[in-house]
């Protein structure tokens, strides 16, 4: 087993991981404490799922906008289940991060005067979303990746799959990783570790997410006792392509696109988002620019009422962009045109795009404090894998690309600071954990399991998540899904990997990912079941639970891993120091209010 020593190890090479790496490198330079930083990714960094983000990144930009307004939008958008101190920090640091990206070369779209252009986004009071056409995540990721090449202190480990954290006496001491190309284990000793492994959208059957979005980092931290927080909150993006779930950006609506049911009616006006805004004149927080949870819920209601259309086997509504005109569509939304043409043979310039909601984002994640540190000393988390407390019960579109910059940098700086004051642990401790991982791998491959099939288990998992933890949920459905997860976890112990080769064994990786997924799926089902109210993206049909209940549930859920035994749930107070919970309203109903 190869062993390497680093000051900081970062797991995940997407936006948050790259920003953390650069942040740590800059911090070390500034404090004249040279540090070695390892950046591990199970893919090449530019394949990370940040690449698929389309719409943009939010920050208070124009003179008419205010930090207070961005704060209020985020807090009410999250249905008051956010950490308000964290949101306050976020809105104050958002702009400088986007400017920093510009200084690194990000090709932000521009106004005629050469200033950066902003666009409207759902649930945001003002246009404050920076964008690079409709490939914002792609451009941000490549800018960060390319910029990271300037730093020789950042050593990349591309296609290294992290199997476990090494933890000793409440502090992280390194990670154990599998080099995919060789099948060999590598021990990386570290003084601080940052998890930036992304979300868990692939727990669900129908989603906008890349195949790699399997919640690995969440499971690793969880298995070592860190709480997974607010895992019941899973965002359905209202506009995915039927069949594949490929994302059609919210920017379509920011630019003025409208949503129609099969009768050609703008149905959102019936769901507290009206009155109808004139065609071509989108208004913030009205109609199509409502928040994602409300829009996906409206789809479900239309579907129940039989007012959705059909595309293949899928129930759909229609996103109509035609009135924007070919020039605007091609200039602002070129990728959407490419996707709609390639994957469903629809040209958005000429026809409405059939769309339906798809699982998109994991609001919950690894619990951290406002400085991105977890309950394990020296272990940090940032980006979608983390629950720093920014999104609460529903994330606003374009807050997460900014999040990975603001909190990626913060995590990098915090880790650098810690590493400067910490010594490496005894390497024998790491070796012992490495040996345990090697034994576990052997067990998966050597055929001692009774031969459970990972494909069958994976399909059972994604079906159960979809049926029990969808847009609307019931006690019975969630209970059934939770039971299913517990059974699947037991069956997972009997799994057998057919491919026993070492080099690029992707079947083995799929099995390990499935193991990660089942653990966090249980946490997600448990917290969903126990939250007996409706809030943000967690909506229940059960009698007496269809409204928000601040008396009993103005609390974060925390799920703790118990090994083979069922997971345990606790409740945690929410930081509401600046803004008392109020009614969350959009359209005319929200006029003048905080929401």
């Amino acid at each position: 087993m190869q062993q390497r020593d680093f000051d900081i190890v970062i797991v995940g090479g997407g936006g948050a991981g790259l920003r953390a790496a650069i942040g740590a490198a800059e911090h070390a330079k500034e404090h004249k404490t040279p540090q070695r930083i390892a950046l591990l990714s199970k893919v090449y960094p530019m394949r990370s799922h940040t690449v698929a983000a389309e719409g943009g990144a939010a920050a208070v930009t124009s003179a008419e906008d205010s930090y207070q307004a961005h704060f209020d939008d985020t807090v009410s958008g999250g249905d008051w289940l956010v950490e308000q101190g964290v949101v306050d920090y976020f809105v104050h640091h958002a702009y400088q991060e986007l400017v920093q990206m510009e200084r690194w070369g990000c090709p932000w779209s521009r106004k005629d005067d050469g200033q950066v252009q902003v666009r409207r986004f759902g649930g945001m009071k003002t246009a404050r979303t920076w964008f690079a056409a409709d490939k914002t995540g792609f451009h941000m990721l490549h800018t960060l990746f390319q910029t990271s090449l300037k730093y020789p202190e950042i050593e990349r480990f591309d296609e290294f799959f992290v199997l476990d954290l090494a933890v000793h006496e409440g502090a992280v001491i390194g990670v154990i990783a599998l080099q995919i190309a060789t099948g060999e284990l590598t021990l990386l000793r570290a003084k601080a570790v940052i998890l930036a492994t992304g979300g868990a959208g692939r727990l669900f059957r129908f989603n906008t997410n890349a195949g790699i979005v399997t919640g690995d980092g969440m499971a690793m931290a969880y298995r070592h006792g860190v709480a997974l927080r607010d895992m019941e909150f899973v965002q359905y993006h209202p506009t995915g392509l039927p069949g594949s779930g490929i994302l059609i950006t919210e920017a379509c609506r920011g630019e003025g696109g409208i949503l129609l049911n099969k009768e050609g009616y703008r149905y959102l006006q019936d769901y507290g988002l009206g009155p109808e805004t004139p065609l071509g004149k989108p208004e913030n927080k009205y109609m199509e620019l409502g928040p994602r949870d409300k829009l996906s819920q409206a789809f479900w209601q239309e579907q129940q009422a039989g007012r959705t259309g059909k595309f293949g086997d899928s129930d759909v509504v229609y996103l109509d962009l035609r009135h924007l005109g070919e020039k605007t569509i091609l200039e602002r939304l070129p990728f959407i045109c490419e996707l709609a043409k390639a994957y469903i043979n629809v040209d958005p310039v000429k026809e409405p795009i059939p769309i339906r909601p798809a699982v998109h984002y994991t609001m919950g994640g690894i619990e951290t404090n406002p400085q991105c540190e977890t309950s394990i000393a020296g272990l940090y988390a940032a980006g979608e894998c983390a629950s720093v407390g920014l999104h609460g019960a529903n994330r606003l579109g374009s807050n997460s690309l900014t999040e990975l910059l603001v909190f990626g940098r913060l995590a990098g700086e915090q880790a650098s600071q810690r590493a400067a004051q910490t010594e490496w642990a005894d390497e024998r401790l790491l070796e012992a954990q490495g040996d345990r991982q090697q034994a576990k791998l052997l067990r998966l491959c050597d055929g001692t399991g009774s031969g459970e099939n990972w494909v069958e288990l994976k399909h059972a998992m994604v079906q159960a998540m979809e049926s029990g933890c969808g847009i609307y949920r019931t006690e019975e459905g969630m209970r059934h899904s939770l039971e299913t997860m517990r059974q699947l976890r037991a069956r997972f112990n009997e799994i057998r990997v057919k491919d026993t080769s070492k080099i690029f064994n992707t079947e083995l990786l799929e099995c390990i990912e499935l193991g990660y997924g089942l653990d966090i799926a249980e946490a997600s089902c448990l917290s969903a079941l126990e939250r007996r109210e409706s809030r943000g993206a967690h909506q229940r049909l059960d009698e007496g639970m269809q409204k928000r209940d601040d008396v009993n549930y103005l609390k974060h859920s925390q799920v703790f891993y118990q090994g083979e035994a069922p997971a345990e749930l606790h409740w945690q107070d929410v930081d509401v120091r600046f803004s008392a919970p109020a009614e969350r309203a959009y359209g005319d109903a929200g006029k003048g209010g905080k929401a």
């Binding site: 090449y44 530019m46 394949r47 990370s48 799922h49 690449v51 698929a52 702009y95 400088q96 400017v99 920093q100 510009e102 200084r103 690194w104 070369g105 090709p107 932000w108 779209s109 521009r110 106004k111 005067d113 050469g114 200033q115 490939k135 792609f138 490549h142 390319q146 910029t147 090449l149 300037k150 591309d158 190309a181 890349a210 195949g211 790699i212 594949s244 490929i246 994302l247 129609l260 099969k262 050609g264 259309g309 595309f311 293949g312 229609y318 996707l339 469903i344 043979n345 026809e351 409405p352 494909v455 990997v497 057919k498 491919d499 080769s501 070492k502 080099i503 690029f504 992707t506 079947e507």
Partner: protein, 255 residues
Amino acid sequence: MNTEQINAKNVSTKHISVKRYMPDSSAEPYWQQYELPVDDSTSLLDALNHIKEQLDSTLSYRWSCRMAICGSCGVMVNGIPKLGCKTFLRDYEGEIRIEPLSHFPVQRDLVVDMAIFLEHLAAVKPYLIDDNPVKPYDPQAPETYQQSPEQLARYKQFANCINCGLCYSACPQFGLNPEFLGPAALTLAHRYNLDSRDHGKKQRMAELNRHEGVWSCTFVGFCSKVCPKHVDPAAAVNQGKVEAAKHTLIALFKG
């Protein structure tokens, strides 16, 4: 609403031959044929995933976003480099032959070693170089550069490269000499050279002006044909030649 154009599914059976290479167990590559059900919407990536999950779990290949933006799933389809997720089986009659991307060392099955590609990207300093900015970045008073839409338009197309590597498989020169920086890296260099915020052209020119830089390109142009994002690397490389020639001339006059 116009729901008439719903794709009638047209389910049929197709044969896919995949060039397998399992260095753990066999020294030589071999062909393996799979038979699977497809419909009008089935992409090559969907087909590979079907094989992996239903027919043969030992088949290895890379994929991730399945929406032609992450650049993972490049393979040769009947001899032409393609993204698996943006290639549809409905467009192929008869047998389909899938091989790993040409010109890269094969690690296993459809997985190639991209290390040299990554090295070439890094070699051209693909980041904004502004060593003496008029206003250094100050987080306390952050200020952007100015850039007009016209200035953005000059390089925008060349910034759309997804690093999939198809153009390297299409490039006969890279096939002959892997030290050639190749289409994507040269395009990326050109992208930054054209960026009005950048002042690093001089630094990049040394790398571009080598034999393994722009001068290895013989303007076959196949790179631009196979590019799934219409980046047109051939144009970038040949504009780069003009720049490199100018750079040489100026250096000559300056003595």
